[in-house]
Structure formats: structure tokens, C-alpha cells
Amino acid sequence: MKILHCPINGPRPISEFIFGGEYRTMPDPDTCSDKDWADYVHNRSGGPGVKKEWWYHAPSGTWIIAERDTGSDQVMATYLPNSITKEATHE
């Protein structure tokens, strides 16, 4: 069974987690073009590679970020999201 390391609860089986998709920064809806907004809403970077992703540890209600290679399924790092969401709000 595949194990994901939760920063709060330690190593847990991946079946306890829900995949939340790629971590993306939202363009400013007041200033971006309709085209850019549609791109943000629908399009994804679908190719294989290392991505930052949202994962939700359901039993403990914890959202985390995992850096994972979507080609090899190797997880490089997991951490709580506050570090990058803080960064994002300053962008």
C-alpha cells in the first residue's frame, strides 16, 4: 500500500487521503481577461512531471501540499499549505 506522509499525523495509507488537484495561483478576477479566467477555471498542466498538489487527510480534516512526480508517483515532500498560500497572497 502506498504511504503518504502527513505533516500532522505522520505516515498514513494513501487511501485516507483525497486528491485535490494541482496547486495553482488564482489570477485577480477583477483585472484578468475573460480568456485568462477561462484558462484558470478549466485548463490544467496535464503532462507528467513534479507538481505541487493539494491532498486532504480525511480522518483528521487536514489539507496538505505534496510535491509529487505524476510520472513515477514518487512523493518528494509534503508540508502544510500556509507557507505557499502566504506567498501567493503577496503576489
Partner: protein, 413 residues
């Protein structure tokens, strides 16, 4: 005796029937190049030649024909979708499938079984009624049936599903069928080859060259080809191709797994699908139960299979058929499903002139092999997509005009 056998081995008198011969090398240029030798790419080549007389065409396949999702799918063919656009489109495909063995002069083992989508909840029953009405409106034979009708078609089923999820009714779809998947790919390949199309296996496309927003050629593992028209029909590899051109799409890849049991005497002659239990099952002409479940839960570009999958699937199949508890699963595998947010495909023209996309086939594209081949061939020949696939264009995501098929597509492939 053994000597006589040996004579046959060396004799050229009875050669292997070859479906096509691969040319030694690529031509310098083609009128159109198709990336992907799955059912879709080969069907497009066939109809380009047959319907439009365009035969200076190459199909490039990096592995072997049908080795992608075509040869990994559970071959359910049906048209009981949710949107009128979807129902019309898939109905056209079912009709093409019904004539296809004759058209290709190859026995595709096309077998009309009838298809039950089981409902275990009132809300599922509501979706079944909705689909039945849309289907009827478009002229497709689907109607809602009760537990008695299900038991009549399949007396072996435990209608209470072990008391866990009693079956309240089903959407019955008379034309639901199964077929031999690799035969479909090979039949189209032979038909295209006979009309002059070049087919190359073990030939990978590395890069697509453009100039001024137009396609001018491709780099492949066998060298450069000049061409102004390229069709990408690569299912689970689509993002890698669209990345070559900087085209953005909503496609995300998730594995979809399936398995078969050891062969049994024939006992199941319909196709059964349960969205609530996440399973579907049919019995192949060899007697194996062909079974599948829903998508793997996260993005992954891999065809690895998992124990989680067989464990979960077996549990649900046993809810429906407790008597299968001693039957062995003999093979399991996975394909890479190219998923879209509205569970509808992405077909037609793209922002790059001469680059055509046939993708977003996720867990449901085998049934569309004939119609997608036909409509993509027309799109390439006329540089304009026919009305039938207008709702599947890539630009629908920019226009917020999605074609919501999730209620008819998830699990019931």
C-alpha cells in the same frame, strides 16, 4: 511425422496472413500524418482514404497497434448518454459498429447483449428516467425497468446486494454491445493499408514543427516528415503532444483498471453496470468475466495496476453475485484515461492551423472509434468540423459551453 511438420515450418506456401506490410522508410512528405495507432487513429486513416480519397497518409505508432487504451478497454458499446448531442453522436457510432464487421470484412465478434445501468438509490433512479427520456427523444431504445425485469434477464443476481445496496431498478438499453477491441484496430489498419495508407509501428513522434501558427512537419524516431496536417489521436498521451505546441487543455491523466476471471460456462448474457457499487461486468465470448471499476483516485501517467483495485472490485462484485466467491481473477491491467471536466471528448480544430485533436476519451472512447474516425477524417479533409462534433470542440471551455455527460459516463464506460 515431425519431419513433415518441419517442412511446413520452412515452406513459404502457407504464409502467416499479414494484415499490412510496413514500408522500409517514411516518405519525405505526406498529405496528412496521424499520431497514434489506436482504434481512433486507424479509423481516421481508413475514412480519410475511403470517404475522401486522401491516401497519402501515414499513421505513426510508437508501440504496437492497439497497444494503448484500445487493447486495454472493456469494450462496452452503448449510446444511452445524457445530452442530446452526446446521444446522437454515440448512436451514430453504434450504427456504424453494427455494420462494421461487414464493412471491414473481419469478424469483430460484435455482440448485442442489452445493457442495464443499475440504480440503488432514488436519485440514481431520477438520472435513469432523465436519460431514458433524452434517449427516447433522440430515437434510442432505452427505458426504465424494475427489479423483476432485471431478475428475468439475470436470475443469478442478488437483487438486495447483500442487504447493503438493494437494487431499485435500472436503465435498460437494448443496443448495448461488446466487441473484440484489437480486431477493431487491426480491421481499420488493414482497410487503410489496402487503400494506400502507410502504417509504421515502433515509430514515435518527438516534436511537431510549426511556422507562422501552421503545422509544417514532425520529428520522429525515424526522421523528419513534412506535412501540413497532423491529427493527434493518442488518448492518455495527449498532454505530452499538446505541450509540444503550447496548446492548453483541461485534460488530466488518471489510470483506469480492469481485470478478467478464469473462463466459466456462459451464464451472463447482458452487460451490468452499477454506479453506486463502482463496478461493471460482462462475459466475453471466451467465458471470462470482464470487470472494471471507477477511475484510480489521482493523476498518474502510468499503467501500473494495484491490489486496492482488485480488492475493492471483488467486494462489490460479491455483493451482486455471492456465488462467484471461488472464481479466480487471472489478469489485471490499467490504461491511462485522458479525463475532461465534463466527461465529453475534445475533437476538432485547434489554435494551430493544421493541427487536429481527437482526445479526452477518458473511460468511454472505444464505443466512439468508428464515429470519431469518420468525423475526424471529415475535419481533416475539409479543414472544418462537422456539426455532429460541434459540442466537443476545444474552444467550448473558453466559451463556457460544456457538454455535461458525467451522469452518463462515470463508471458505466
Amino acid at each position: 511425422m515431425p519431419l513433415r511438420l518441419l517442412k511446413y515450418a520452412f515452406s513459404k506456401e502457407h504464409p502467416d496472413p499479414a494484415f499490412f506490410t510496413q514500408p522500409d522508410s517514411l516518405k519525405h512528405s505526406y498529405d496528412a500524418v496521424i499520431i497514434g495507432g489506436g482504434g481512433h487513429g486507424l479509423a481516421a486513416a481508413y475514412y480519410l482514404a475511403k470517404d475522401h480519397g486522401i491516401t497519402n497518409v501515414a499513421v505513426l505508432e510508437k508501440g504496437y497497434l492497439g497497444g494503448g487504451n484500445t487493447g486495454r478497454n472493456t469494450t462496452i458499446v452503448r449510446s444511452n448518454y445524457l445530452t442530446p448531442e452526446g446521444v446522437k453522436f454515440y448512436d451514430t457510432s453504434v450504427r456504424l459498429f453494427q455494420e462494421l464487421s461487414e464493412d471491414l470484412n473481419l469478424n469483430l465478434f460484435y455482440s448485442t447483449r442489452g445493457h442495464f445501468t443499475l440504480a440503488h438509490t432514488e436519485s440514481a433512479m431520477r438520472t435513469m428516467r432523465w436519460r431514458a427520456e433524452v434517449n427516447k427523444h433522440v430515437g434510442v431504445e432505452s427505458y426504465v425497468v424494475g427489479p423483476d425485469d432485471i431478475l428475468k434477464a439475470c436470475p443469478q443476481i442478488d437483487i438486495s446486494c447483500g442487504g447493503n445496496a438493494p437494487i431499485l431498478g435500472a436503465l435498460y438499453h437494448a443496443p448495448g454491445s461488446i466487441a473484440r477491441h484489437d480486431a477493431v484496430a487491426w480491421g481499420y489498419a488493414r482497410g487503410a493499408y489496402q487503400r494506400g495508407v502507410d502504417i509504421f509501428q515502433s515509430t514515435e513522434v518527438w516534436d511537431i514543427k510549426t511556422s507562422g501558427g501552421k503545422v509544417v512537419g514532425l520529428n520522429t524516431s525515424r526522421g523528419f516528415i513534412a506535412t501540413n496536417k497532423v491529427l493527434s489521436a493518442v488518448a492518455g498521451f495527449t498532454p505530452r503532444i499538446t505541450d509540444m505546441l503550447g496548446i492548453r487543455t483541461p485534460i488530466v491523466i488518471q489510470p483506469l483498471q480492469a481485470c478478467v476471471t478464469e473462463p466459466m460456462k456462459p451464464w451472463l448474457d447482458t452487460i451490468l453496470v452499477s454506479g453506486s457499487l463502482h463496478v461493471y461486468v460482462s462475459q466475453s465470448s471466451r467465458g471470462e468475466l470482464v470487470m472494471g471499476a471507477s477511475l484510480d483516485p489521482y493523476e498518474l501517467h502510468s499503467t501500473r495496476s494495484t491490489l486496492d483495485f482488485v480488492e475493492g472490485l471483488s467486494g462489490h462484485i460479491l455483493d451482486m453475485f455471492p456465488f462467484l466467491s471461488n472464481v479466480k481473477v487471472v489478469r489485471q491491467w490499467a490504461g491511462m484515461a485522458d479525463m475532461t471536466p465534463d466527461f465529453a471528448p475534445i475533437m476538432g480544430k485547434t489554435p494551430i492551423e493544421g493541427f487536429y485533436l481527437d482526445a479526452g476519451w477518458g473511460t468511454w472512447g472505444f464505443k466512439a472509434t468508428p464515429v470519431s474516425g469518420k468525423t475526424m477524417a471529415e475535419t481533416i479533409a475539409k479543414d472544418q468540423a462537422p456539426e455532429l462534433i460541434h459540442s466537443f470542440r476545444l474552444s467550448r471551455f473558453e466559451d463556457y459551453e460544456l457538454t455535461g455527460e458525467k451522469g452518463a459516463a462515470s463508471v458505466g464506460h
